[in-house]
C-alpha cells in the first residue's frame, strides 16, 4: 500500500467530495470555472514567453510585460487550484489509480516551482536575458504548463 493512500481515501470521503460526487451539476460547473481560469492563465503564459523569447513586443521590457500579466495570472492560478482541489475531492480514489493524474501533479508542482523561481528571476530581471537563455527558459515554461494540461485532459479519458 502506498503511504499516500490514506490521504486519498480521506479526501474521497470528505463532505465536500461526497456532495460534489452526488450532484449531477456541481462537477461540470466547477470544471467550467477550472477551464475558464486555465484559459486566462495559459494565455498569459504564452504572451509572456513569446516576449521572453524575443518574438513579440520587443519595444517593451520583459519585466514590464511580466509585471502587467502577473496579477490576473496569479488570481487565475488561485481559481484553478481551488476548483482543482474540489474536483479532486469528488474523485480522489479515481485519481489515486490514474497514471495521468500522477503525471499531471508532477508537471503541476514542477511548473509552479519553476514559474516562481527560475522563470520569475529571469523574466523580472532589470536586464534583458541573452536571447538563447530567454528562449530556453521560456520554452521550458510553456512545455511544463502544456504537460499539466495534457495530463489533466488524459485523466478524463484514460
Amino acid at each position: 500500500m502506498h503511504f499516500l493512500l490514506p490521504l486519498f481515501q480521506w479526501s474521497d470521503q470528505t463532505w465536500l467530495g461526497e456532495t460534489i460526487r452526488n450532484s449531477r451539476i456541481y462537477f461540470p460547473i466547477i470544471e467550467t470555472f477550472h477551464l475558464l481560469a486555465l484559459t486566462l492563465l495559459f494565455g498569459a503564459v504564452i504572451i509572456l514567453n513569446l516576449r521572453l523569447c524575443g518574438i513579440i513586443m520587443k519595444n517593451q521590457p520583459t519585466w514590464q510585460v511580466a509585471q502587467d500579466l502577473a496579477p490576473w495570472a496569479f488570481w487565475s492560478l488561485v481559481v484553478i487550484l481551488i476548483s482543482g482541489i474540489l474536483l479532486f475531492l469528488s474523485e480522489a480514489l479515481k485519481c489515486y489509480a490514474s497514471t495521468p493524474f500522477q503525471v499531471k501533479m508532477l508537471f503541476l508542482f514542477t511548473a509552479i516551482i519553476y514559474h516562481f523561481t527560475i522563470h520569475r528571476g529571469v523574466s523580472r530581471s532589470d536586464r534583458e536575458p541573452a536571447r538563447a537563455w530567454g528562449v530556453i527558459v521560456g520554452v521550458v515554461n510553456v512545455l511544463l504548463w502544456l504537460g499539466v494540461g495534457l495530463g489533466g485532459r488524459a485523466i478524463g479519458f484514460l
Binding site: E31, T39, L40, G43, Q64, D68, A154
Partner: protein, 165 residues
C-alpha cells in the same frame, strides 16, 4: 434518432463520424487538441480584450498587442475550428439535439460578428488609442462583448459534453 435532418444523420453515420467516435485514440486526441487550441486562442484573445477595456497590460500600446499577439490567436482559432468540425461530425446527432450546443453556436456567431465589426470598422483608429490609458467606449464595448461571448461559448461547450439540458 429520427427527428434530425438527413445531413446530420448522414454525418453521424459516415466513415469519418463513426471512425472518430469509435476510435479509442482519435476522439481523445481531437478533443485534447480542441481544448489546447482553445486555451491558446481564447487565452491570448482575452488579454487583448482586457487591454481594450483598459483593465490589463496597461503599459503595452494597444495597437502593438493587436498586431503582434492576434496572429497567435488566429492560429489557435484555425485549429480550434478544424477540430471542432471533426468533433461535431462524430457526434452530429447529439450536438444537433442539444440545447446547449445551439446556444454555443449562437454565441460563436455573436463573437464572430463582434470581431468582424471590430476588424473592419472600429479598429481603424487603433493607433490613436495608444495615446490614452484607456481606449474609447466603442473599443471597450468590443472587448467586453468578446469576453462575455467567449465565456458563454466555453460554458455551453462544457454543458454540451455533459449533456446538461
Amino acid at each position: 434518432m429520427s427527428d434530425v435532418p438527413a445531413i446530420i444523420h448522414w454525418m453521424q453515420n459516415s466513415d469519418i463520424g463513426t471512425g472518430i467516435r469509435e476510435s479509442i485514440w482519435l476522439f481523445p486526441i481531437v478533443e485534447t487538441t480542441h481544448v489546447l487550441a482553445l486555451a491558446l486562442s481564447v487565452g491570448v484573445l482575452v488579454w487583448f480584450d482586457l487591454r481594450l477595456m483598459g483593465w490589463g497590460m496597461k503599459h503595452e500600446p494597444v495597437s502593438q498587442i493587436h498586431k503582434q499577439v492576434m496572429p497567435f490567436a488566429f492560429v489557435g482559432f484555425t485549429i480550434m475550428i478544424l477540430t471542432g468540425v471533426l468533433l461535431f461530425w462524430s457526434e452530429a446527432e447529439k450536438c444537433y439535439l442539444s440545447g446547449f450546443f445551439r446556444l454555443k453556436v449562437l454565441f460563436l456567431v455573436l463573437a464572430a460578428l463582434n470581431a468582424g465589426i471590430f476588424e473592419l470598422g472600429t479598429k481603424k483608429s487603433i493607433e490613436d488609442w495608444d495615446k490614452y490609458p484607456v481606449p474609447p467606449p466603442k473599443a471597450r464595448m468590443a472587448g467586453l462583448i468578446s469576453i462575455l461571448s467567449w465565456t458563454a461559448v466555453i460554458v455551453a461547450g462544457r454543458a454540451t459534453a455533459y449533456n446538461l439540458f
